[in-house]
């Protein structure tokens, strides 16, 4: 059996055995039938795309894990999208970015947000101050009440975290 049909077969079995359960599980937590159905559907889609299928015993916890990540991603996207649109709402029309540019910026913001998630508090603060407030390391050191060499360590860690998001996931 080649891998494509093998995958489909596995997916079919998983779907048959666990789709109803997953949807119920989500409905209880999200309190919204339609949303639960969508997320359940996306979970199986994600599974198919990844091609990684769980063993029998951990099927449900694995599906729940994927579903949970999907829901968190949605919240994250909603929050970022809203904040971004607010940030450009005041722009006069000629300066307002095109829809295409917006989509690109949103994608990048999502990516940076994922990077920030990997950073401990001080590292994240230093990174934000340096990249988006334009502060020098000396100014950041003063702001955070740490030495310049600590700021340099934070920044190195921040860059490594960014790298990991882009290249190691």
């Amino acid at each position: 059996m080649d891998t494509a049909t093998d995958g489909q077969q596995q997916l079919h079995l998983l779907y048959r055995d666990h789709h109803g359960w997953l949807q119920g599980w989500l409905r209880k937590r999200l309190g919204d039938r339609e949303h639960a159905a969508d997320v359940a559907q996306d979970t199986f889609l994600r599974l198919l795309v990844s091609g990684r299928f769980p063993g029998d015993k951990e099927s449900r916890s694995y599906l729940a894990q994927i579903a949970r990540n999907l829901v968190i991603d949605q919240w994250r996207r909603l929050r970022i999208e809203r904040a971004y649109l607010e940030s450009i709402a005041h722009l006069p029309e000629p300066e307002s970015p095109s829809l295409e540019t917006r989509a690109l910026i949103l994608e990048t913001l999502m990516q940076i947000d994922a990077m920030l998630d990997r950073m401990p508090d001080n590292v994240r603060r230093a990174f934000l101050l340096s990249q988006f407030e334009g502060l020098s390391y000396a100014q950041i050191a003063e702001r955070l009440g740490v030495t310049i060499s600590s700021v340099q360590k934070y920044m190195t860690r921040a860059i490594v975290a960014c790298y990991q998001v882009v290249y190691e996931e």
Binding site: R29, S87, L109, Y137
Partner: protein
């Protein structure tokens, strides 16, 4: 494929240190030599550096003010913690409702939301009519013992029947507003909430204060500790539910403040024309038309730098 192959963590670390130094300002002469040597020493070094250049390009792809607004740190930290907690609750099977306290992502939970300029109503499962004003969000939680509506932002107007078994409660950051068979509006103002009672009675309970009973026609402001009676709004206060603003000899400045809720961007009124009195019925589905109507009926000029930046001035 070599091009996509992972790079040893130690090399990534070194490259990151170099980038950190570059970001810190100009390299000293000996640092520049060392950097050149490091690059020349190994193809993997160059590959890591290239990846970081690409990363830097990505970071540069976001305008700084958007990045600042979206990724800002303080509320963000709380949000991150809450998101993690919520994830944990999803995992162990909590309801999730308990942690829905801190903005800004909580609006994602709201069962009903409107955008700026949007006004609509929904009929809830008990027959209560819920009108949402522009840019508003609520979270509706009905249980066997109560009908609870959490106002996250904006303004709502409720027209409800009395249900002795399940009180209808609007929850705001400031406290609870409990309906006793009634028609009333609640508006979240950031620093407290406003209640306008059109029919029936309601009881307002600030989170840390004494309950106050309101009668039809009353308006009240309250925060977590205190309540304050306001001048009544009159029946026209709820005209937004019919997608109209009604002005009866209303000062222009006040009218413009109301109107600005339905338009994205800035809408300002020059103090010189603040006191001009306005009378009319204005359909909210076209705020540009309202501005044009103002120009026709009052000695004012509407100066639009763009659609999102409008000032109303005296006509010269």
């Amino acid at each position: 494929m070599k091009h996509d192959a992972p790079i040893a963590p130690a090399i990534v670390e070194q490259a990151s240190e170099w980038l950190m130094l570059h970001w810190g300002g100009e390299l000293r002469v000996e640092q520049r030599h060392a950097f050149a040597q490091w690059q020349a020493a190994d193809e993997e070094h160059r590959r890591a550096w290239q990846r970081l250049q690409h990363l830097q390009h990505t970071l540069g792809g976001v305008p700084a003010d958007s990045a600042r607004a979206v990724l800002r740190d303080t509320p963000d930290t709380q949000r991150r913690a809450a998101l993690k907690l919520l994830g944990a609750l999803l995992m162990v099977g909590g309801s999730g409702y308990l942690v829905r306290r801190s903005e800004p992502w909580q609006a994602a939970f709201a069962e009903h939301r409107t955008a700026t300029g949007e006004i609509r109503y929904v009929t809830l499962s008990d027959g209560t009519r819920l009108d949402l004003n522009s840019d508003s969000a609520v979270d509706v939680r009905f249980s066997a013992t109560e009908r609870r509506i959490r106002l996250i932002r904006g303004e709502i107007l409720l027209t409800s029947g009395h249900d002795a078994l399940r009180p209808l409660i609007v929850e705001t950051a400031a406290g609870d507003v409990q309906a006793l068979g009634t028609r009333f509006a609640v508006r979240e103002l950031g620093e407290g909430s406003r209640v306008d009672l059109y029919e029936g009675r309601v009881r307002v309970t600030p989170m840390h204060g004494a309950a106050v009973q309101m009668n039809a026609g009353d308006s009240l402001w309250f925060d977590q500790r205190q309540t304050l009676a306001l001048p009544a709004v009159g029946a026209n206060g709820s005209s937004w539910t019919e997608h109209r603003l009604i002005a009866e000899r209303q000062p222009l400045g006040e009218f413009v403040t109301q109107l600005s809720r339905y338009r994205p961007g800035l809408l300002r009124c020059d103090p010189a024309v603040f006191g001009l009195l306005l009378t009319g019925v204005f359909p909210l589905n076209d705020t540009d038309a309202i501005l044009a109507a103002l120009e026709r009926s009052l000695p004012v000029h509407v100066q639009a730098v763009t659609r999102y930046w409008v000032t109303i001035k005296a006509r010269v």
